[in-house]
Symmetry: C2
Subunit: 414 residues, 2 copies
């Protein structure tokens, strides 16, 4: 006898991501001060340069600012002779002008004096007396100069809305004098473990009980994905307890996750609780993915609730594929692609799959001198050790019947 709830309409992973994309709106902004805390945050607005950078022509070598034509043809045997009209000190406005036949001493980073259009490197000059240098190599116009708008120009679009800030971007903000910035608020994720057999890690366990793995792997994944994660503990598998804790989770967060036991009875309770919220809309109930098929996704107002399977491996895969994707959408991130970074490797075992289902399999990447191999770790999805031993994941596409030993695959690196 198959329970009625087996007959939900299963969606493909792509369909599920599209549903999330079509329903999720980026969260509101918050203003942060310039600091390394901006790392990984998402730009709320386009960033337009408020100034020219560097804002004045700069020498980028130690030497002499000259008019290039004064040095044309110069060589060690026929040097050009120039009068030294002065020096530009670091951090000061250039006050001397360079007129034909003259040179002004400059350092790397100092302002170019007016009239000059090139820098001769100090290595190709020599003082004849206090006021005169000889130049033994010609300079071309613009040699060793950065122009006033060469780095950035006032009004230029520097970074687009939705960009995830990196170290260089934070450096650029400093360079432009931008000391506070609007970024999208971090999504809050609450995490509930359900199951009569689940106990907290610090407790002694009895036969039949297991410690709560999922709260900890999920809160770590949520943090890594750029959310604020709040663990809300363990709830027994009854309607009232679950409803109370889920209501609290929804109130405190943008996304509430419930990782339930995987038994039919437990799944039914989770579904009943979700349905009991007044404005609940069940978006997804079942996904053609392994592991992770019985995943439920609902929207309650502007908030999302996930009923995740109870197995530790299923939980991680479904998080990466759907919760992480939703966090990226709520964060307003332009790049929502799942695991951009992958390496090519050869699978060293046959792996079977069934068409109509996307399979995710943990692999151990083995680098040798000549090749990169991926060893599929074929464990049951109840085993966290499969993921602990893995340092990557491979995907077997929906339509495929498996991967043959020796074929090349993309490995998504943890």
């Amino acid at each position: 006898m198959v329970s009625q709830n087996y007959f939900f309409k299963v969606k493909t992973p792509r369909e599920v991501q599209n549903i999330l994309k079509n329903t999720a709106e980026p969260l509101e902004s918050e203003s942060l001060e310039l600091s390394e805390k901006l790392l990984g945050r998402t730009l709320y607005d386009d960033l337009v340069s408020p100034v020219d950078l560097p804002g004045f022509d700069r020498a980028i070598m130690d030497g002499f600012a000259v008019q290039a034509r004064d040095t044309f043809g110069a060589s060690p045997s026929a040097p050009a002779y120039l009068q030294v009209a002065g020096e530009v000190k670091m951090g000061e406005k250039a006050s001397v002008q360079v007129i034909p036949g003259q040179a002004v001493k400059v350092s790397t980073g100092s302002m170019m004096p007016e009239g000059a259009n090139a820098v001769v490197m100090v290595e190709y000059t020599d003082y004849l007396d206090d006021k005169t240098i000889e130049v033994t190599r010609p300079a071309a116009p613009l040699d060793y100069i950065v122009g006033k708008t060469d780095d950035m120009e006032k009004g230029e679009l520097v970074l687009e809305k939705g960009h995830t800030l990196r170290a260089q971007d934070i450096g650029a903000l400093a360079g432009l004098g931008i000391t506070s910035l609007s970024v999208t608020r971090k999504p809050r994720v609450t995490i509930i473990s359900s199951g009569d057999e689940v106990v907290s890690p610090e407790k002694e366990i009895k036969y039949g009980q297991i410690r709560d793995i999922n709260s900890y792997s999920l809160s770590s994944l949520a943090k890594q994905a750029g959310a604020v994660s709040v663990r809300m503990g363990i709830v027994p598998d009854d309607f009232n307890s679950l409803k109370e804790r889920m209501a609290e989770g929804l109130e405190k967060s943008d996304i509430a996750l419930v990782s339930g036991g995987s038994s039919v009875g437990t799944r039914d309770v989770t579904l009943d609780v979700i349905k009991s919220f007044e404005d609940a809309e069940i978006l997804v109930h079942g996904i053609s993915i392994r592991p992770g098929k019985p995943t439920i996704i609902a929207r309650i107002g502007s908030k999302y609730l996930f009923g995740l399977p109870g197995n530790p491996v299923s939980v991680m895969i479904t998080f990466d594929m759907f919760v992480g994707y939703l966090i990226a959408l709520l964060s307003g991130r332009k790049e929502t692609a799942w695991k951009l970074q992958s390496v090519k490797a050869q699978v060293n075992k046959n792996v079977a799959s069934a068409p109509g289902r996307e399979d995710y399999i943990g692999v151990k990447i083995i680098k040798t001198k000549d090749s990169i191999m991926a060893e599929p770790l074929l464990g049951k999805s109840a085993l966290i050790s499969t993921m602990v031993k893995a340092n990557g994941l491979i995907r077997i596409p929906l339509e495929s019947e498996g991967i043959e030993q020796g074929s090349e695959v993309d490995v998504f690196v943890f």
Copy 2:
């Protein structure tokens, strides 16, 4: 005339990394509580499983625990008939035993009763009356069971010392009941910007001055690399100011970074200050890398001091290659490889280089339907915009004269 300081003995990037490897010792440990804060931290000791996981045989399907041989040959037309001797509730010890001809009801995750060696899925059973089921498909021994040590075995090495903790590892710790863990202390990195032309980002600037980019990109890079970063502001280019701030930086941290102007004079001051510390040992002075050649690395007691070039691009490259590498060593990380993750791409322009120097060039990765192209961003290393536009880096090896358009390269993704 070439200044005397140009004649330092330049080392290859590989030599520099080896020097760091041979001198750096992992820092001491600290104990952290089980939580998502362990993410990215390094294991100080080997992690050996204190218990068996799950610790008892578990059913991983809803159904009936049976003796497999009782079901051999069962089919819809010739079902096997079994007496239901009881049920194992979730989270409870199995108290009934399965003897030949009997079955015990189990749920996904419940404890297996003694005597049984397989689970028949509920889908292939049907109740004939309260106490009798028919089984319409044979079960093989061990079907749908996870053994008591299948996930982890007491005494098993789960993770090696030096491993960087990921979400699944933190989940596994919870599963094993490990609620506090020794990890290597995070290295502290102090960051000083030097230069008479450098001003703090919140200040108005005058001609000849530029805002402090490097403090912010460096502190972000240090944070990203797993260190605690402390910005110590801007110091003018004179011996006493620099010495005072560097002494303070060394006192407060494991690694002090000074990003100086790139002029010869500035570099000389930095070098003089480093030499003036009583037990300073200059490990590196000049690296065959572009950008970043004038990098200085010294060891003062157990602490490290870096004199980094002043250009924003040079600073980032030398950080990644050497400071990030040192942070990994001090953190005790097993994996110190620079940027494990790369993608293959075709360079869409010729890029020249000089043999005897390793070149790093920012690229923009352009993904089309059929290919991944890398567009080299050939800018001066004084321009932070080069790095802002880039989403990856390519390396031209020491012995190469450049890369031809169309050749395949590894792009290290930011």
